[in-house]
């Protein structure tokens, strides 16, 4: 047993014998490394939660939001990217989780990792694009708190990125930002400066005790200038938003209660602009800001001077910076809550800063561009590499100079007393004025914005200065105005400048005396006539100015209007027929102010009325205005200033009444027969059918009214009678509108006391009969005119009846005649007159019956006989009654 045991037992550590030339036996515990591995990335969850929409990583919005609290930057960035993806895929998520989304995203504005901040900004932009301002409104305090936290952060990177967040908000929610400007505006100050903690010693030195000083941070990866530029740029944007919010005043109060609520609205509006609601607040704000801006300016200009010889040439960077400084100053001026405080603020600015402004800004005015293309190129390349954040804003020197002018001119206060000795600002205003004048009169085309700024500058200078130099300025503007090919916007700008100036003249004698202004006014009518129908909007502007000047009785304008009136009121291509209705009305109203209305103009006007190019009501008001200007209206009893002499006026009325000029009538006489209805025994005159739209003469009523008020009616009728006899009785072809109009006028004007002449009656009876022959196609108005004329002039009726000679008629005309007669018989107003001519009537009817005896009795004859018998019967009945009593 033991042996076997021993045998069995082996040594623990057997000696392995290695032999040369043989491979080393493998150790028992050697690891086989002949396998390969592959990694499995679980970027998305395996479980699928069907309840909420997820990203492609199967993360829902809650997971993503919780990931934002992760310590790792990459996870946070991933979460932000995932959120963006989720929101693009499922916009409905945005509505549900807006509050948590915004609060979480805003929290990472101040993240240490720049990539996270960038993603956060991008996400914010995405959200801002899809959520309207009114829905963001409740979360805005939170957003702005985080924003100001980021803006005042100690790390420069975060500060810079905060500006980008601000950009997003400025783009999408300007109104919300403008509602809380005070906080942001102080933050801006923090960005470029620091509150000096220095003790009283420094304060004593500076005297004024300014508490803020420009800060320079050497760690920034942009230069101090560029940094300030970016900040100031945002600053200007914010300001503009605030400005806009203040400008959007509530709409004009309507009738009654609205006018009461108006002031309250205003109050609430301004109280939202917290901190900047009073002049004092603005003043305090300005007093911290302006010194800083001046410092920035000095730095920009000094750093350049060291490089170059000529101090007025600037690098683009410096120029952009200066430009922004000036725009901030300009905006600061406009920040007053109420317009009436503007003057107080201006005066304060002047007293505080005029000296410094003069010293700094005016030293090297005007500024130019440093013309070193090589250096600039390199610099551009460099700056674009270094600081992609700075927008490549290139400011032209012109823009800088113009803005400088505007800022400086706003310092000029109104000179109360006149006198050459009291021109305290002349020394520094001189170069400004020279520059403005030169720029305007150089003839170069200016962009709309520049021109706008320049015009504001000129306006201020003209209003405040009371010397002759303003005339030169106005001349320069006028040069600009006279340029060809200006676009509408610019043209309107210049036009409104002048018209505003003209409307202001009562305050300033020198403006009223300005030759340039009167030259401008005198040129307006010719411009209007040249403009024609090409630009109705501009014509409207011109007309407004012309009307204002005309109502003030400006002599130059009236003279020029008088010379060009015939062109303006030409019936074919004058402005009065080409422009839209509103301008037409203005042009017609303008006639009132003309000192004299010559014959030619009256002829044009009458043709305008009759040609039907403008509405009947306008034609009526034109006639009324001419009536007022004639001596016969008697409105202005005392004053003898009548524009129209009586003869012209009456002939004007008469030509409107006829509706056709003598030339047109004579061409009608000679025209071929195709357009004219031929004469027949039943219609002795051949009628010319007028087109329907020309036929609707509403204004002959107005003419009648004017004629009625001329004075004694009989004289007036004499005039009319003479006119008709002389001009119209010889006609063979008569337009039907004219015939109807004449009949109506005669019916209205004729008095019982007046005996119309034979020739007139003959002509009228011809007209009447011709019209009646058309009775089937006739309109109601013409029929009315005929009946009125026949009713008021009994002799006319008799004559018409006499003209009805049955023997001359042919077969087809007999029914027509019968129809006319029966209609006349049926008319109650005519009945008595018909009865007066009973014998004549009986004769006609006998003739008629005789002529148709051959055939069977037709319907028309039966009708006529019935009408006749009824009329006669009632007459006899009346007679019978009279006999009884």
């Amino acid at each position: 047993m033991t042996k076997s045991k021993k045998k069995k037992r082996q040594d623990d550590f057997q000696k392995v014998k290695l032999k040369v030339g043989k491979t080393k036996p493998k150790a028992d515990n050697a690891t086989n490394i002949n396998f390969r591995t592959k990694g499995i990335h679980l970027t998305e969850q395996l479980k699928k939660d069907g309840s909420a929409p997820t990203t492609h990583r199967k993360l829902n919005i809650k997971d993503l939001l919780s990931q934002l609290h992760h310590y790792s930057g990459t996870v946070k960035q991933g979460a932000l990217v995932g959120l963006r993806e989720l929101l693009t895929l499922h916009p409905s998520e945005l509505d549900q989780h807006l509050s948590s989304l915004l609060s979480e995203v805003a929290a990472v504005f101040t993240d240490k990792d720049p990539n996270v901040r960038m993603s956060a900004t991008r996400l914010l932009r995405f959200i801002a694009q899809s959520v309207p301002a009114e829905r963001t409104c409740p979360f805005f305090p939170l957003l702005s708190a985080h924003l100001s936290c980021a803006m005042t952060h100690i790390e420069t990177g975060i500060q810079e990125d905060a500006l980008k967040v601000l950009d997003v908000l400025l783009d999408h929610y300007p109104a919300l930002l403008a509602a809380r400007p005070a906080l942001l505006l102080t933050n801006f100050l923090e960005l470029i400066s620091h509150k000096s903690t220095g003790g009283g010693a420094r304060k004593g030195q500076e005297g004024k005790g300014r508490s803020w000083a420009l800060s320079v941070n050497p760690n920034r990866n942009v230069t101090g200038q560029q940094w300030r530029l970016t900040v100031l740029l945002r600053y200007v944007h914010t300001y503009t938003c605030v400005e806009l919010a203040e400008d959007t005043h509530p709409p004009l109060p309507t009738y009654s209660a609205d006018s009461l609520s108006c002031p309250f609205l205003n109050v609430s509006l301004f109280s939202t602009v917290e901190g900047l609601s009073s002049v004092e607040a603005v003043r305090g704000f300005a007093s911290t800001l302006v010194p800083l801006l001046l410092d920035v300016w000095v730095e920009a200009s000094v750093s350049d001077r060291s490089k170059t010889d000529s101090a007025h040439l600037l690098t683009p960077d410096a120029m952009a910076l200066m430009y922004q400084v000036l725009s901030v100053l300009q905006l600061l001026r406009k920040l007053t809550p109420q317009r009436e405080h503007q003057d107080a603020l201006d005066a304060w600015f002047r007293s505080e800063y005029l000296g410094e402004f003069k010293q700094q800004f005016m030293k090297n005015f005007p500024y130019g561009n440093l013309d070193t293309p090589k250096q600039r190129k390199r610099k551009d390349a460099k700056s674009s590499k270094q600081t992609p954040t700075v927008p490549g804003q290139v400011v032209e020197p012109l823009a800088l100079n113009i803005l400088l002018c505007q800022v400086m001119v706003s310092m000029v206060i109104l000179n109360q007393r006149e006198g050459p000795a009291q021109e305290p600002d002349a020394d520094w205003l001189m170069p400004l004025r020279g520059f403005v004048q030169e720029t305007l009169s150089s003839g170069a085309k200016l962009s709309h914005r520049h021109l706008h700024t320049l015009l504001e500058t000129v306006w201020r200078m003209v209003i405040t200065q009371r010397s002759r130099v303003t005339e030169d300025l106005l001349q320069a503007v006028y040069v600009q105005y006279q340029q060809m090919n200006l676009n509408l916007q610019t043209r309107t700008l210049l036009l409104s400048f002048f018209s505003r100036l003209y409307l202001q003249e009562h305050n300033h004698i020198h403006i009223a005396r300005s030759k340039v202004l009167s030259r401008w006014l005198a040129a307006l009518p010719i411009q209007l006539s040249q403009l024609g129908h090409r630009n109705p909007a501009l014509s409207g502007w011109l007309l407004l100015s012309i009307q204002a000047a005309a109502s003030r009785g400006n002599k130059d304008l009236l003279k020029s209007l008088h010379t060009h009136a015939c062109r303006l009121y030409d019936p074919q291509e004058g402005s009065v027929v080409l422009l839209p209705a509103e301008s037409q009305q203005r042009l017609v109203q303008l006639l009132y102010f003309l000192p004299v209305i010559p014959q030619g103009l009256l002829a044009n006007l009458s043709r305008c009325c009759t040609a039907g190019r403008f509405s009947a009501s306008l034609a009526a008001s034109l006639i009324r205005i001419i009536h007022l200007r004639s001596s016969l209206s008697g409105w202005s009893v005392g004053s003898p200033d009548t524009a129209v002499c009586d003869v012209d006026y009456i002939s004007f009325l008469f030509s409107i009444l006829t509706g056709f000029s003598s030339d047109e009538l004579s061409t009608l006489q000679e025209a071929g027969d195709e357009s004219v209805l031929p004469p027949s025994p039943l219609s002795p005159l051949s009628l010319y059918p007028t087109p329907l739209e020309q036929f609707t003469h509403h204004w002959d009523v107005e003419v009648c009214h004017c004629l009625e008020t001329l004075g004694s009616r009989s004289q007036c009728f004499d005039v009319l009678q003479n006119g008709i006899c002389k001009n119209l009785t010889g006609l063979a072809v008569v337009p039907d509108s004219m015939a109807a109009g004449l009949l109506r006028a005669v019916a209205r004007l004729l008095d019982q006391s007046v005996l119309p002449s034979e020739a007139l009656l003959r002509f009228l009876s011809h007209c009447c009969l011709s019209l009646l022959s058309l009775v089937l196609t006739l309109q109601e108005a013409v029929w009315g005119a005929c009946v009125a004329a026949l009713g008021s002039v009994p002799r006319l009726l008799r004559m018409v009846l006499q003209l009805l000679r049955v023997g001359d008629l042919c077969e087809e005309e007999l029914p027509q005649l019968a129809q006319i007669l029966s209609l006349l018989l049926q008319h109650t107003t005519l009945r008595n007159h018909m009865l007066a001519n009973a014998s004549l009537l009986q004769h006609i009817i006998q003739d008629l019956t005789r002529y148709c005896q051959g055939e069977a009795r037709e319907q028309w004859l039966t009708d006529l006989l019935y009408c006749y018998s009824v009329t006669m019967a009632t007459h006899r009945g009346n007679l019978g009654l009279r006999d009884i009593y």
Partner: protein, 432 residues
């Protein structure tokens, strides 16, 4: 005492029989007439109920009559130019005239020319005061109507010329007539113009409330006292009644006659130049260039009386009859002074009152200032409490006297009582 009598004062441009006539409103009888010359349109005014002033047509003077002395022309005020319109303030302190394009303002008590306002660019057509004389409105042929505050115009400030409070500049043709409603500075003002519109303005803000467009030019305008209706006289002889209570709230509207108050009074055949409504708002007076004055019943729109004149009517208005008018023996309270033609009388060598300031207050401002409501309440309270106080405690010296009286009485009563006691005790204790 009977109700105030209303009269019509009218004038025509012919002036054959009289310059202006006074007619009883309801009966139409001719009460008085004033002779001499004739009056320009909108240039006849009654000053303080004591004088009638009318600017002579086409001449540069103003005719003045004492209101009780009919027929006799009392005086002529010579002006620097032809007077186109004239009015006096309702409190009778100021006289305003439009002479060419300038407004002349006189103080009636001294005759001083206080101001010449030249803001209009063309001739004036109309001047109107508010009923409290605090503002006046001027309209001219330059399409403008200006609202002036009398106080700011009158105050002496040589540095800047007085500016109007509001410029109403929405008309596009000359203004023909202005009507100023009641309620002083809160009144509503209606302006009529040849541009065929009538516009209603708020005096306090200068805002336009309503613009009504018509078919014809409007020559005259008035409101009834309640401001329910606007009456507009057209240049074709129609009088248009516009209801201001309509539901539609559009600011610009076109006149169309309907059954709801917008209607036309037809009857005149020429320009309607004057309109006026009686105090109770039932009668409308209209004067026209067709040489008639008509009286209309507003409710039924009928012409109830037509009074023929000898020429185009230039002035016609209804006023309550002044007290002096029918008392031939009465005299005006103050004689009318000479009206000066130049702005500064001191410069003309008559500098008597240099340095002195002439202050004249209106009669109703001379009375003691009224107590406030608080003072009134205090007074009332003391009055009421005095009754109770006096009944319980009496007051002041009365108390002392009374106390001493009462003490005296007590003393006598005690004495009587003691006597009675003594007597009875004596009686009882007396041994029988």
């Amino acid at each position: 005492m009977s109700a105030p009598m209303e009269i019509i004062v009218c004038a025509d441009s012919a002036g054959q029989l009289w310059n202006c006539a006074v007619i009883e409103l309801h009966s139409g009888t001719n009460l008085l007439s004033y002779r001499g010359g004739n009056s320009s349109p909108r240039a006849l005014t009654v000053l303080n109920g004591e004088y009638i002033l009318g600017a002579q047509l086409g001449k540069n003077f103003i005719n003045v009559w004492e209101i009780q002395r009919k027929d006799q022309l009392q005086q002529k005020i010579v002006c620097p130019g032809v007077v186109t319109c004239l009015t006096s303030s309702p409190n009778g302190l100021y006289l305003v005239a439009g002479i060419a394009e300038a407004i002349y303002l006189w103080e009636v008590s001294t005759g001083n020319l206080l101001a010449i306002l030249s803001r209009h660019y063309q001739d004036l057509t109309c001047l109107r005061f508010t009923d409290d004389s605090s503002h006046f409105i001027s309209g001219g042929k330059d399409n403008l109507a200006l609202v002036w505050s009398l106080a700011s115009v009158v105050q002496l400030d040589s540095t800047n010329a007085p500016e109007p409070r509001h410029v109403l500049s929405r008309h596009s043709l000359p203004i023909t007539d202005i009507h100023c409603g009641l309620m002083g500075p809160q009144a509503r003002v209606a302006t009529a113009s040849l541009d065929q519109t009538v516009k209603l303005w708020e005096l306090s803000s200068g805002e336009m409330l309503l613009s009504v467009l018509f078919d014809v030019g409007i020559m005259s305008v008035t409101l009834d006292p309640c401001e329910y209706y606007l009456f507009c006289g057209g240049s074709d002889g129609g009088i248009f009644q516009v209801s201001l209570c309509s539901q539609s709230l559009s600011r610009d509207k076109t006149f169309q006659s309907d059954n709801e108050g917008n209607q036309v009074f037809k009857g005149h055949r020429n320009l309607v130049t004057c309109l006026s409504v009686s105090m109770d708002g039932t009668l409308l007076l209209s004067g026209s260039h067709d040489e008639t004055i008509r009286l209309w019943d507003i409710q039924s729109k009928q012409s109830i009386r037509s009074i023929n004149q000898k020429g185009p009517v230039t002035n016609a208005f209804i006023i309550p009859a002044p007290a002096n008018m029918f008392l031939p023996d009465s005299r005006p309270g103050i004689p009318l002074p000479r009206f000066s033609r130049h702005l500064n009388p001191s410069e003309q060598g008559e500098g008597v009152e240099t340095g002195g300031v002439c202050v004249r207050l209106a009669p109703h401002t001379q009375v003691r200032p009224k107590e406030t409501y608080l003072e009134k309440a205090d007074k009332l309270y003391s009055l009421m409490s005095a009754v109770t106080d006096k009944s319980v405690f009496g007051s002041g010296e009365n108390t002392k006297v009374r106390v001493s009286e009462l003490e005296e009485e007590v003393r006598t009563l005690k004495k009587v009582n003691k006597d009675l006691y003594d007597f009875s005790a004596q009686l009882l204790t007396k041994p029988n």
